[in-house]
Amino acid sequence: MKLPGIIASLALLSAGLWGQTGLDSRKLLQPPIDTWPMYHGDYSGRRFSTLTTINSSNVQSLSLAWSYRTGVGGIKATPLEIDGVLYFSAPDHVWAVDARTGRELWHFAWQSNGGIHIGNRGVGVYGNWLYFETPDCNLVSLNLKDGKERWHKTNCDLDQFYYGSVAPLIIRNHVIAGVSGDDLDRPGYLSSYDPETGDLQWRWYTVPQKKGDPGSDTWPNEDAMRHGGGMTWQVPTYDPELNLLYVTTGNPQPVIAHKNRAGANLFTASLVALNPDTGKMAWYFQASPHDTHDWDATQVPVLIDGEINGQPRKLVALAARNGYFFLLDRTNGKNLVTSPFVPTNWAKGIDRNGTPIPDLAKMPQIDGALVSPNQGGATNWPPPTFSPQTGLFYVGASRAYSVYYIYDTDDNPQGWGGTDRGGANLGSMVQAIDYKTGKIRWSHPWESGGRSGLMSTAGNLVFTGDGSNNLVALDATTGAPLWHANLGASVGNGPITYQLDGAQYVVVAAGDALWAFVMPKR
């Protein structure tokens, strides 16, 4: 992103509101150097660090700084790092630990009333306040200093089998919170809350709520659209200059059996641009029309300030779970590139809008349809990364087949109504994609599987995890493996990096532990 202009135009509005304590809001508009102030590091979602203290010529001497064990489940959260303190979460839990030593400063535990505890992606911070979602549908605000609860608000209805897993994103005075859950047929939505009071500012439903609403012509009736799913499982990205929020949406409901939702089922499995002040939609692009494979499109929409045919362009890239890499103009959603990043067999072609055309024969069948990717997807929620230095978009990918079955043959199926079974994963790898063309520049296969989040740095490095529990540093230009450390459990999140006292740290989660590696000041 072009940061100087952004800082001039927007940071002035909010600078100085919180004094020197907590998170200085200007940090939200700067490249992450001594701070990792939000889930993706910055609003672009590229998870690229300009730091070079650790680089491809010295990464061999990267060494362990500390590790911290929570003793509570697996960590899938990307930690935030603010003023030398790391803040991260697991379902019902938040911790603050010293970013230099791993010493615990505080630990908050939420008394749960239920919900799926599959994972929590992390926290959001605004000034002196921290926000996170609980599995039992609460948005909780804590005091950053001591982890004491300030308030909690209901973000969803647990009785409808919604739950919370997403990290909130802070944009000026908005706490943007997604919602999770695909057991019952309920509508997905994205909400914005006041960071001080927790009052709801707006709520945008991912599926139309009545006939005549945008997208309602892609559903057979109101009952279908009002229960059409489209959960907001992923943390959005944001362009401050355009003031547009980029949101990816989940699969339609019922998930597998689909007789009662004929049509493209907008705005499920889509990338949508919203105004963060109003929740109004500016444009959309659907990655999987009428998804029947639980693929959704809730991967990270990565903002790239690039060049196409010699012209500077504001772009957004998405490597979707359905196996396709999409490049769009992020001012208007116009498609520029659609290209598979692993071989797939479910689409008959690409339509004039750049959208794959589903092959009816590869939708779930009573006697089974052999489909690739499988339900796990060609990629999944672990974050990809984009390096403006190499021009490559890096994503953890798998090529897998499975058989999709319809179990519920009723004309009005509910819930899932089927699933995929069996098959095999033919391989997992990191794909380095030329963002301008979608072509694979290099592919680094993992010998034993693996698919973790990624981070790239100006030190010509890509950090990620393999299937042998290693944190691995790859050469960003060639994909050559340069360094590793075995963490005893697979990397569960996207790595982060920050520089404190001239030393560059890389922090990653594996199992229930955070691990920090450091390169001392040169």
Partner: protein, 372 residues
């Protein structure tokens, strides 16, 4: 309401009295008799044993039984019920796992699905009560709401009803019925409290039966292929006959596996722990378990040294180690000079996955099921 409040006050008073001056506590058997007397009027007490609730949650449930279901008893009896349920079916009890997806809201999640979907205090279905409720449903509800409670042109879908999802033991369904006509033309208030309770169990059962892991999530007929075409593929384009024989290793295979298992096996016959279907993590599937299956091995040849073959323990970009047939462990740092060859007896099956049409898949299965 006034009655309910007085009962609650009595309950609280009973609790305080017990704390201050412990009364001789009834034996477990005596308590069970009280539970049977108070609760057994409407449902089998066994239906509560999967609750796993705290004392406060049990008290809340009892309150609901009193207010919504008209449960009757003395304050002492309700106190005994509360003590019994809290001590025998509290959070630490064996039945304490919150209901998973499917499985009708109780017990551990079936089929390896994620536990914990929905609230901890979700309605737990009493199967016997639901069976009784089915009769009420057939008599008074089915015409408008359909066999599966998914609605018709004449009545809404109750599986998607927020009132139903918020209901616990008819505390919402009961009051709703008081003012609503049923298919006989009678008002819902002509049903007894017990009938309404049974109906609630039946309706919640319909909701849970849409969840993953429920009894309706089963594979149907897979035998749509042409066995002759399957045989031709087996002996021709598929190349299966190069390794397999219907009178040798596959003799009688259809007697050992049902069609879904058989289909899973020929698509990926790796033993459990091999690369399974889930993508990322290399987990196997139970369906692919195969006693005596051939292992994937690595043959590692150090510079100048003898080649060692064994099953991989570590295999990544940096290290490789194997256990050989004698159980000896061998480990190496990977270098350009170290030759590593993977011997995958299932590679041909992987290659076929990229070539099968769905017709090929159905035809092969149709052929294999003839090998009884």
């Amino acid at each position: 309401m006034a009655i309910a409040q007085s009962v609650l006050l009595c309950l609280a008073a009973a609790g305080i009295a017990a704390a201050q001056e412990p009364a001789p506590s009834p034996s477990l058997a005596q308590s069970r008799q009280v539970v049977q007397k108070v609760c057994g009027v409407c449902h089998t007490p066994e239906s509560v044993i999967t609750g796993g609730r705290t004392r406060a949650q049990w008290q809340e449930t009892i309150d609901k039984m009193i207010t919504a279901q008209g449960a009757k008893g003395t304050p002492e009896e309700f106190a005994t019920v509360l003590d019994y349920l809290s001590s025998q079916y509290g959070p630490a009890s064996s039945g304490s796992t919150p209901g998973g997806r499917g499985g009708r809201g109780r017990g551990a999640a079936p089929g390896g699905m994620l536990a914990g979907a929905g609230p901890n205090d979700k309605h737990v279905v009493d199967e016997a009560a639901a069976d009784r409720g089915r009769k009420v449903w057939a008599a008074e509800c089915i015409d408008c709401h359909g066999t599966y409670a998914r609605g018709t042109d004449n009545g809404p879908n109750l599986v998607r009803s927020e009132l139903v999802l918020h209901d616990r033991y008819a505390d919402k369904i009961g009051p709703f019925l008081q003012t609503h006509k049923m298919q006989s033309g009678a008002l819902g208030n002509t049903l007894t409290a017990a009938q309404i309770g049974d109906l609630a169990h039946f309706i919640h059962q319909r909701v849970y039966d849409t969840l993953r892991g429920s009894p309706i999530f089963v594979v149907h007929n897979l035998l749509t292929g042409d066995p002759q075409a399957g045989k031709a593929y087996f002996n021709g384009a598929g190349g299966c006959h190069n390794c397999h024989s219907p009178t040798g290793d596959l003799k009688g295979i259809a007697s050992r596996f049902d069609p879904p298992a058989l289909q899973a096996r020929f698509l990926n016959p790796r033993p459990l722990g091999g690369r399974g279907g889930r993508g990322g993590r290399g987990a196997g599937t139970a369906e692919s378990t195969s006693p005596g299956a051939k292992p994937v091995t690595l043959t590692v040849t150090p510079p100048g040294g003898p080649a060692v073959t064994g099953t991989p323990i570590v295999f990544d970009d940096f290290d490789v180690s194997v256990r050989d047939v004698n159980g000896e462990y061998h480990a190496w740092k990977r270098t350009p000079e170290l030759k590593v060859v993977k011997n995958d007896p299932y590679a041909a099956h992987d290659e076929l996955l990229t070539r099968y049409t769905d017709k090929n898949m159905h035809d092969i299965l149709a052929y294999l099921v003839t090998l009884k």
